[in-house]
Homo-oligomer: 128 residues x 2
């Protein structure tokens, strides 16, 4: 263990960056990453063929869009979470350009855009 | 997927039970459980030999005690998290009988008291 245990303060971690749709790793749990991100407007439709994906909203309102037949869109406010099942296409978005802060839990190595490559949006996770 | 996607509202889920030190599963992420619990006073010293354990405080203040040489106690307030590394003995507690709400992420099947069996405190996870 480290010499001095310190809490990970999500508000502080969020204050350290401003780029959007670019997850930052705040901790690891076995072979999973605990990540935070700031998001605004619409992401890209994508799926993760090998893993579920946990979204927990820390501030603001996030809509996770699904295709018809996949259960309908989910609207998440603070302290609301949703697990996107593996293989299910989804597209997160926010309304009216709101900036929303989220926490994500996924296995290490998962790319935010899944099977899709998007020059603007595909970002490898970075430590913070 | 379910016919109707619904957010998991942690405040609502917390309103559905009052028992202490008895984790409730609100979701699963691959082979991991996403759990919430209400805790008060002191738990039992224990470790989880095969897994890290994520604590995220939702309300109140949680102290996670560690033995000397293991980095010192961690005090977590709302929206602060800590990962207890696998194999490290720890004992969560709250001060002055405060009731604290926490979110836990662990592989399925992890028992809250780890290698220790305590008639009052050992609780299998339940769905909520």
């Amino acid at each position: 263990m480290s010499n001095t245990n310190k809490p990970i303060d999500l508000a502080h971690s969020l204050s350290l960056f401003n780029d959007l749709w670019s997850p930052k790793r705040v901790a690891t749990l076995n072979d999973y990453d605990i990540k935070i991100a700031k998001v605004s407007d619409s992401f890209v439709w994508h799926s993760h063929k090998d893993t579920d994906e946990l979204f927990l909203v820390l501030s603001g309102t996030l809509t996770i869009q699904f295709h018809p037949g996949d259960g309908g869109n989910v609207v998440l406010g603070p302290n609301q979470l949703f697990i996107v099942p593996k293989g299910v296409e989804h597209c997160p978005r926010t309304e009216n350009g709101e900036e929303v802060s989220i926490l994500l839990v996924e296995p290490k190595g998962v790319v935010n855009t899944g099977e899709v490559t998007d020059a603007k949006l595909t970002n490898a996770v970075k430590d913070i």
